[in-house]
């Protein structure tokens, strides 16, 4: 069944595929995107990663989705704050040992100041309506595609507008929170162009607001008396944006990394506690929390520990690595070869804290000019307000790093 058959759905299918932009216009648009909007991976293997067609959503449907994302964001923040005070629960999240120890040590102490909190909720439209598969809470990417590329596509489709500009919203929030005369360091892992393009795009958004921004690797950052400095500079930074997963920090061997958790004077973004809800095992601690998580319970499929699934002799589960990214450790009998699936389950049983099982759900596919595709619609929430959308399509049964970035445009007056 695809969106064409939405009469069979419990609710109306909210996404509509637009016509492709003519090839010569799209070539020009692609070039602008790569040269001006830091989209530096427009081709991954044999796949072009920019869709030449948009997907439309009505204003009412977008408002509903944005509202849901904001509620989920509020619940996420509240749950993270409670988790900080309950270090015994951290073990269940699958955090690396060094990070667990730091969080435990800091329990009850003031966390380092933070600015411009951003998270992205990954939604999928199913027979039952919108389901959220996970929250990219720590280091969500996709800003260039959600803003730069989508704005270029919006120019081709009068009567439609962007769902929001996550990069410019983030930069505006940073400008409000930080010393406007200071320099902001944007940290990412050397070697990864996909990450470098994210920080480069955010840096350009900061510079567009007249702020000073500098892209760095972890070795260029040092901490003195709680202030963050560039290794080569004498004056402290105004803020540090971390596009470097928190769970990598203990292993990168840089002294002072614990300042991201506590003891810093320089504000950081995102706060370290984001790594707690980033864990795919986050739902496993919900029952233990006093924080109400009603929207999560409604929108997210059931999750449980891998051993529980084996005890139930149950099928229909997706196995996910606790700190997986871009679908790199997502296994299911629907798309994983039998041998690889067995190996993944064996690893999950050997190291259970590194994995979680999530109940499968059927995503309603989209008929597109490139064939039938599954979708993942990420909704950004910045400082509690919905700030844009990042839509990815995939001809495979789940959305991974080779997905096709697609502009989501909101129909005006609808």
């Amino acid at each position: 069944m695809t969106q064409a058959d939405d009469g069979q759905l419990g609710v109306a299918f909210p996404l509509r595929v637009g016509k492709p932009v003519p090839a010569s216009d799209f070539a020009e648009l692609r070039r602008t995107c790569v040269l001006e909007h830091c989209k530096w991976d427009p081709q991954v293997g044999d796949r072009a990663t920019l869709a030449p067609f948009p997907v439309f959503i009505s204003g009412a449907d977008w408002a509903q989705l944005a509202c849901l994302a904001e509620k989920l964001a509020a619940e996420t923040e509240a749950a993270e704050r409670e988790l900080l005070l309950r270090p015994l629960l951290l073990k269940q999240l699958g955090l690396p040992g060094a990070l667990q120890r730091q969080f435990s040590r800091a329990a009850g102490a003031a966390e380092s100041p933070s600015f411009a909190r951003v998270m992205r909720f990954d939604f999928h439209f199913s027979r039952e309506g919108w389901r959220v598969s996970e929250v990219n809470s720590d280091v969500p990417g996709g800003y260039s595609e959600a803003q730069g590329f989508s704005a270029l596509m919006a120019e081709q489709f009068p009567g439609h507008h962007l769902a929001g500009g996550p990069a410019s919203t983030w930069a505006a929030r940073a400008a409000l929170a930080l010393d406007p005369a200071g320099e902001i360091a944007l940290l990412s892992a050397p070697g990864y162009l996909e990450d470098a393009q994210v920080v480069a795009y955010l840096a350009s958004s900061l510079r567009a607001r007249g702020m000073k921004a500098r892209v760095i690797g972890p070795r260029e950052l040092c901490w003195r008396s709680g202030h963050a400095f560039l290794a080569s500079a004498q004056s402290p930074l105004a803020g540090v944006f971390r596009f470097y997963q928190l769970e990598w920090l203990p292993e990168c061997g840089q002294p002072g990394w614990s300042h991201f958790l506590h003891g810093a004077v320089t504000p950081v973004s995102n706060p370290a506690r984001a790594a707690l809800s980033e864990s795919k095992r986050f739902p496993l601690v919900w029952r233990e929390l006093g924080t109400p998580l009603a929207e999560f319970a409604r929108s997210m499929p059931e999750s449980c520990a891998p051993r529980e699934v084996l005890r139930r002799f149950d099928d229909g589960w997706v196995l996910k690595g606790s700190y997986s990214n871009c679908g790199d450790a997502v296994f299911s009998s629907r798309w994983t070869p039998r041998g690889a699936l067995r190996a993944a389950w064996a690893r999950a049983l050997l190291a259970p804290s590194g994995w979680v099982a999530q109940r499968e759900f059927e995503v309603v596919p989209l008929d597109t000019p490139l064939g039938t595709m599954t979708h993942c619609l990420g909704v950004y929430v910045i400082d509690g307000r919905a700030a844009g959308a990042y839509l990815r399509l995939s001809p495979a049964q789940f959305v991974d790093a080779c997905a096709i970035d697609t502009a989501l445009l909101v129909e005006e007056g609808a």
């Binding site: 010569s24 070539a27 070039r31 790569v34 040269l35 001006e36 830091c38 989209k39 530096w40 427009p42 081709q43 991954v44 293997g45 044999d46 072009a48 690396p96 992205r120 990219n136 280091v139 969500p140 990417g141 996709g142 990412s188 892992a189 050397p190 070697g191 990864y192 162009l193 996909e194 990450d195 470098a196 393009q197 994210v198 480069a200 500098r214 892209v215 760095i216 690797g217 972890p218 070795r219 260029e220 040092c222 290794a231 080569s232 596009f243 470097y244 769970e247 990598w248 920090l249 292993e251 990168c252 061997g253 990214n325 871009c326 790199d328 690893r347 190291a351 590194g354 790093a401 080779c402």
Partner: protein
């Protein structure tokens, strides 16, 4: 000329391999970088006639601008140079000097455009062999440069001895077309051109995948007259996979670059 013109020269619309061109160095060009045509690069590489045989695609893995110069020389023989430089240009001080690559790309743009290569010209993928520069080697190089400028090297260092932007990069198999696509377009043989015959670690997965797809892989040492060597995936490849899938996840090993914990994780978010 502007950066759009430079990009168009290297990734012309309609050419078969243009979509694979990595845009980062073109996107990072400032207006001042593209003023004036610049000196056309000199080509020092001695080209082997086998490199341009039918059914051959090349990977040119030479240091910095030499890779661009080789690409231009190969273009004169009808091959389409496809720049795959992944490093971000830094500020004044960077681990890997990509400014010289940018200058070479700009200086060659007009000449390359004037060649009017056919859209289906076979590809010569250009890499910078210094992309994963060993930190010690870079530091030594910087010391020598500072000495030449009669500057005090230690003045530029922090206590950790590091003061430059870490812009090292990796080549991934997803940077290239698949073996099936190459074969579909008549490629049967891949020749890797280097200054010696050692295959860099980040290219092993790419070459192994192409080998599995039925392509023949050869390595040519451009610095000597040694005969080309046919490359087979190393027998220890399974051991390497075991290492990455079992030992590394247990947190027992750190990547040499120190950039990240564990082995080459996927990009974030």
């Amino acid at each position: 000329m502007n950066k759009k013109d430079v990009f168009d020269a290297w990734a012309p619309s309609g050419a078969r391999w243009s979509n694979w061109v990595k845009p980062v160095l073109f996107a990072s060009l400032a207006e001042s970088d593209v003023e004036g045509p610049g000196a056309e690069p000199e080509i020092e590489l001695e080209l082997s006639p086998t490199w341009t045989s039918p059914g051959v695609a090349l990977i040119v893995d030479l240091p910095g601008e030499q890779s661009v110069q080789a690409g231009l020389a190969l273009a004169k023989l009808g091959m389409r140079p496809v720049p795959l430089f992944n490093a971000l240009p830094g500020f004044a001080c960077a681990f890997v000097d990509v400014r010289s690559i940018q200058r070479a790309l700009v200086a060659s743009a007009n000449l390359l455009r004037s060649m009017s290569l056919p859209a289906d010209a076979p590809p010569a993928f250009l890499l910078d062999s210094l992309r994963r520069a060993v930190r010690r080697a870079v530091r030594r190089q910087r010391q020598l440069e500072a000495r030449e400028r009669r500057e005090d090297w230690s003045r530029h260092q922090n206590r950790a001895g590091e003061w430059y932007f870490d812009n090292r990069s990796l080549s991934f198999s997803t940077d290239f077309p698949s073996g099936a696509t190459l074969r579909e377009h008549g490629v049967e043989r891949i020749i890797l051109i280097r200054w010696h015959q050692v295959v860099p670690g980040d290219l092993v997965a790419t070459l192994a995948a192409w080998h599995r797809a039925g392509l023949t892989i050869e390595i040519h040492d451009a610095a000597s007259e040694r005969a080309p060597r046919v490359w087979e995936p190393p027998r220890w490849l399974w051991l390497r996979r075991l290492w990455f899938e079992v030992v590394v996840p247990l947190g027992l090993w750190r990547d040499k670059s120190g950039a990240f914990g564990g082995h080459v994780p996927p990009a974030s978010g």
